[in-house]
Amino acid sequence: MRIGIMSTAHMHAHAYLDGLKKVNGVELVGVYDDQVSRGRTVANQHGVPFFDDAESMLKTCDAAIVCSENANHKRDVLRAAAAKVHILCEKPIATRAEDAAEMVRACQGNHVHLFMAMPVRCVASIRALRNVVQSGDLGEVVAMRGTNHGYMPGGWFVDKTLSGGGAVMDHTVHVADIMRWIAGSEVAQVYAEVDERIHHKGIDDCGILSIRFENGVFATLDPSWSRTDAYPTWGDVTLEVVGTRGTAAVDAFAQHINVYSTLDGKGTQHFYGDNMDDYLVREFLRALNGEPVLLATGIDGLRALEVASAAYQSAHEKQAVKLARASV
């Protein structure tokens, strides 16, 4: 299986390169980047060829992992689809729902896979949570409460022309996707409070989403970039499910040791659990092999983006917004 990386704008490009190297039968074709010096540096670090032209690399790929800036996902996915190359695309799928829909249709039309790099689907405790819900042990699901706190990543993430938005764009989709997956229902309505109160980078850095699903389940989601320098860790992924017969809660990064080092100047958390990016890469490879997988598809990516877009609209209008789902 010949795999290439399209752009290294997203730091996860390193994680995917590392992950691919651990798997037998993978040929790392190389790295393409429209920012030559950035891409060449990463390629050299990983000992793989660098391409300054996407089509040259895609010609020799079976699949590509798209790690460009959010606004450039569409460009890269359309090029890969046209080259009949299967795709794993970073999140959010795009910055606008209509772009995401176009990407999904292009992949459908070219008969290539489009999966989302949403590794929370590959976290063991999240899969176990879904199994618990499906077993009926919690009764009927009535509500969910999720967080995907983070820190302010800087760089293109705070440039709206490249990111499409701040914390809400960055940190809504992982948990919104899992909630959809577990609720087994589409999102019907979103109400959000969104603001820029923490980092003053001219882009939203905090918010609270209230989500109602078609089947009546409701949820809240906190995607804020609220972890500042003194905090011991980058953020979290938590999800609690409330049912009529019980509750269950996941803290995806609970498996950490606490390190209090004078060399660090503050306490830190060191995660020792599964590397979810490794599992994501492996499951993508299984998908390419024709095996059934539980990854988020391009359509799941579109639906998650629609939640984030609705949140921005709701915050702007100060009203609850009914979702209009793009048909794909």
């Binding site: 009535v142 409070e193 603001d195 905090c206 609270i208 949820a219 809240t220 804020s224």
Partner: protein, 328 residues
Amino acid sequence: MQPLRVLLIGAGTMGGVHADAYASMPEHAVLAGVIDESPERGRTLAERFGVSFYTALEEVPTDAFDVVDVCVPTPFHKEAVTKAAALSKDIICEKPLAPSVAEAEDMIQTCETYGVKLCVGHVVRFFPQYTAAKQMIASGKIGEVAVVNMFRGGPFPTAWQDWYNRRDYSGGVLLDLMIHDFDFLRSTFGEVDRVFAQEIPERDHLSYATATLRFKSGVIANLTGSWAHDKFHTSFEFAGSQGIIDDNTLKAASLTVHRNAREAGGAQGVSVPLTPTFENPYFKELRHFIEVFRDGIEPIVTAHDGLEAVRISTACMASALEGRPVKL
């Protein structure tokens, strides 16, 4: 200074807590009598403290008490407070002050007319982790607060005639439980501009709700209240421009007592987390109220605060019912 004589109306859960508190502050207050419509329950409590039992306020000699403490279910607060005011007695009333803004306003007006003081039992203002967090925030420790997450919940409470299970009596978690946090947040961040809430429609022995508050100061708060959980606990996280303050009572138990399985009669061992302190928050609250009546000091929480908390709760209940944000 003479201890004030307190006539307790309502010998249920809160009545018992209040009676215990008065017994621990003999120089401030002494229980003078217990009123309850159930002779069985009222007499038991009265005998425990060696005081007289009555079935109605009209039976009590008016010179036998100085203060009336109202601990009956919410729908009966107005009647008790009105009668006590007409007797020119200062009044302690448990939260929520009333089930509606209109009733709360009437009660305040009545007390003003009769020239009596009314203190409302918003005891969370006396819980040490909340007061500590509030002081830290006021001192600027975490900068400009951006987003707050709070949880308060546990199993469905059992009480007189299962009154919590009647939404028209208890108001569900939005009125009965989350009002604690609405009042605390208002005392910390000022007036609320708008709310958006979601709640499980009335269901047998299940209540769970979320409320998003946007304060005029710009702070965003995400509150969850539950009578669908296991162990009762509360948690908070305040995230600001300079840091984070959090707490979870599940992790703050200073004493855990475990009976092993054999001792517990073959069932799984029972763990009882306790947080013993020499002065509990109810004690501090009631002693403060007595000092307000007797020594004329400024109350930490006023009747007006009680009214405003009801205003927030009822706005949330309307929001949840109508599926739209409500401006205060």
